[in-house]
Subunit: 356 residues, 2 copies
């Protein structure tokens, strides 16, 4: 049981794994998923880490997610593959896709691995950062696990936040890691604001009347806005085609809302890619050249009212090391929720009453 403000990564890991096992997930799979969920929090993706445990447990209980999947390679070439996630927890198929993409990139210069019959797998950063740490470039995308976005100029919810992520090695302490929703805001951030009792800024959502919507409690009455209007819409469709349709996974009206529906398989589609700089003549020199350009950018005089320029991923390694050493400081409502889940699952609560 965690005392005071923080919980160690190991304790949080063990708790999440026990909670998943209580729903029938085999020990090895539960440990793997728990470790990725906690890693999301360690790297600061708080909206996509253990915060999602409630949803995953609900889908395991409801039968929408298969507790004992058999993850298989359905089809492959030297450079591509499709992994069938057998409707298990999404992290399992995506971790397999990432590892396979890296192996293929080492042999063929590139590895592109699609996933079908997947599920919500946490932040995409989990599936691109390891490429950069191994000296490769990474890319990943996912069809969002609920439709909150209409096509540009339309009113029917046919698109998710459809995130896309990229990574690359550098010579500095932090690899380049860039993980974005194709909407101005991700639903996870809006849920966090709701939990914290805060309002959304204008520009994140509009209502059915086309007017700004700022109350996160009314999020189901409006639409998330794509970045750059028709451009974000186009990017979102690209993700739907490459992560969904290409793999035989859901896109459009087929997408199941994985929060409100705990009983239906989602057939979530994703892909993970790895590129080896050795196949492009730059090899080990990639990091130095990327860092040269990044240093030029960091040295740029800030615009009035702005802090120093930061590159995507900057500072994450230090913060993550600190959390691994000192533990994680989860917000009070999440601590309370994890204690409630512990009770539901019949496992020991991770926080003392005072701390939660």
């Amino acid at each position: 049981m965690a005392d005071g403000e923080t919980i160690s990564a190991n304790e949080l890991n063990a708790f999440v794994a026990k909670a998943l096992s209580s729903k029938g997930v085999p020990e090895e799979d539960a440990a793997k998923v728990a470790s990725l969920m906690v890693e999301a929090d360690i790297y600061g993706y708080g909206t996509h880490g253990v915060f999602r445990l409630r949803q995953y447990l609900a889908r395991l209980s409801g039968g929408g997610c298969n507790a004992t999947p058999s993850i298989t390679v359905a089809q492959e070439t030297v450079a591509t593959a499709v992994i069938d996630g057998d409707n298990g927890l999404g992290h399992l198929a995506m971790a397999a896709a990432r590892d396979l993409a890296i192996n293929k990139a080492r042999k063929a210069g590139i590895g592109w691995v699609g996933v079908r019959n997947g599920n919500h797998a946490g932040p995409l950063a989990l599936y691109v950062r390891p490429q950069a740490e191994a000296g490769l470039l990474g890319m990943a995308a996912a069809v969002g696990s609920a439709n909150h976005v209409p096509p540009f100029g339309g009113t029917d919810l046919l698109l998710g936040t459809n995130p896309i992520a990229f990574s690359a090695p550098t010579d500095g302490p932090d690899p380049f890691v860039f993980d974005m929703a194709t909407t101005v805001a991700a639903m996870g951030k809006i849920k966090t604001l709701h939990q914290q009792g805060k309002q959304m800024p204008e520009g994140w959502m509009i209502g059915r009347d086309g007017q700004p919507l700022t109350d996160p409690a009314r999020k189901s009455e409006g639409y998330l806005l794509p970045i750059g209007g028709p451009k974000g819409f186009g990017l979102s469709v690209v993700v739907g085609l490459m992560a969904g349709v290409l793999n035989g996974a859901a896109f459009g009206a087929d997408v199941v809302d994985f929060t409100s529906d705990t009983t239906s398989p989602t057939n979530t589609g994703q892909f993970v890619m790895a590129l080896d700089p050795a196949a492009f003549g730059i090899g080990d020199g990639f990091g130095a050249e990327a860092s040269r350009v990044f240093d030029e950018m960091r040295a740029s005089k800030p615009l009035p009212g702005h802090d120093a320029v930061r590159m995507p991923g900057d500072g994450k390694t230090m913060v993550a090391d600190d959390r691994r050493r000192r533990g994680l400081n989860l917000n009070p409502s999440l601590k309370a929720d994890l204690n409630r889940l512990a009770k539901d699952c019949g496992v020991a609560p991770p926080f003392s009453d005072g701390a939660a």
Copy 2:
């Protein structure tokens, strides 16, 4: 010589090829580049078609662009390659990259071909639409041919518009073709507004004071804005890494402004990708499934004040067929410019005095 409003694609083609040949470009290469430049206009990418002839001729005259390049495959695997454009007209290396990516995708499921020592190659759509017409998915990106964009929150021009494009087959008359700058506006559009004596809308550029800049004549005094703020910045850096650094091409302060500098090689970097749906189990079924989702989107009731939902690429096939049949209607200032270029090159002017 074209009479009246329009010029046939063949006539325009022949004129552009002759103008390029007058600067020492071999006949076969000149014909290939001219045909791609005219195709850009046929598909409605007016800012990236024959409008660019003046720039290309200036760089050939100035020695910045090599009139007689030898395009070679510098390195390859079964699924990847790097093409060295030998500093020739950019269309030559990019057309070779596109064809090689398609061939590799047929064999390995994916083909990813980078370009170094390239040049401005017109709209990326030229290098992704053929994939979709052949039943494949396409992707391409380019490091922009001049830096007009600072890093997010900074003030030094270290990024170009860094465009990215995607394509996919459908069952309808139009493939999905989506070609976007990672900035709100592309410099080509701003040049066209300038030529037409029009103002820019707010949100396209800001001045060094952080205030909106709307006069296209003052474009060199300000910054293009990325879509979605830090997200567009991140995407732009991804393009710089994957199209530039990975191929040993320019990115950051290395990028040469190809308009103001006609004597230096640009070492432009690009890449072209092709994915074969047959390697992902969906094969010929891809188009039908994409069209199912697209039809759902097109049928969505429009938001107040919006037209019917359109997918990227919709209508282009019909418009292109029409231009191929009836000829192209270029704007008067472009016609006059092409006649002036004809005189400079010592070739017959494409338009009669009355028409230009």
